[in-house]
């Protein structure tokens, strides 16, 4: 009776898909362009066979083209979308981008694009500055209201 064996690390790896390639048509393609001796034909067949058995060689040697995109959690905003997000005017957002307060993510023509995270980070900083100013202003107002 067979007992189930604990799978080892190597047996857990996914094996490359088995490929069945007829090498003869490939050799015929080569033969159309160069004259092959029987020995050269044998060597080419042997090399093709090795090539297609190599697991690093897959059906396509081209790497898939990946388009660099931002994570779904950090969308790219236009200046108007950024302004709407934090409740300020679009020219003010543009001014803050040009001043370097909000990092410019990309320029599409003459349009600026920013990351949501950058807009929110800047907004948090500005709210902190405003809170500080409001605290000082509140103390100043108190002294004005309650002065003799």
């Amino acid at each position: 009776m067979k007992t189930a064996r604990k799978p080892t690390e190597s047996s857990q790896r996914i094996a490359p898909p088995a490929m069945s390639v007829n090498i003869d048509p490939l050799v015929e393609v080569v033969r159309r362009h160069v004259k092959l001796t029987p020995q050269a034909t044998r060597l080419i067949k042997s090399e093709f066979a090795q090539l297609f058995q190599n697991p690093t060689i897959s059906g396509s040697t081209r790497k898939p083209t990946t388009i660099k995109s931002e994570p779904a959690t950090d969308p790219v905003f236009t200046t108007q979308e950024a302004a709407d997000l934090v409740g300020v005017s679009r020219p003010y957002i543009v001014e803050r981008i040009d001043a370097g307060d909000i990092p410019l993510h990309q320029q599409v023509g003459n349009q600026r694009r920013v990351l949501q995270s950058a807009v929110l980070a800047w907004h948090r900083q500005e709210q902190t500055r405003r809170r500080k100013a409001l605290g000082q202003l509140g103390a100043d107002l108190d002294s004005e209201i309650f002065a003799g």
Partner: protein, 82 residues
């Protein structure tokens, strides 16, 4: 957001001034005033003794600017004229 234009009469009273600025900070209104309104308010505060002197009134004006950075940036850009 409701736009609110505050003139000198509105900004003269300290309680109203503070309330409007706080409402803008909370996002309930969008407060506007112009440099001319600000200048006149500072002068009136100093002249009536609400502020001890013109310098104190100017300092208060600076704090108001810091509390509403978007509004004051719009002035500098010439985007807002009242």
């Amino acid at each position: 957001m409701v736009p609110v234009v505050a003139d000198v009469d509105t900004l003269f009273g300290a309680t109203t001034r503070g309330l409007l600025i706080h409402l803008d900070y909370q996002g309930a209104i969008r407060l506007h005033w112009s440099p001319l309104i600000h200048d006149e308010m500072s002068r009136a505060l100093a002249d009536t003794g609400r502020k001890p002197d013109a310098e104190s009134a100017r300092r208060h004006e600076q704090l108001m600017r810091a509390a509403l950075p978007a509004l004051h940036d719009a002035w500098q850009q010439g985007a807002l004229r009242l």
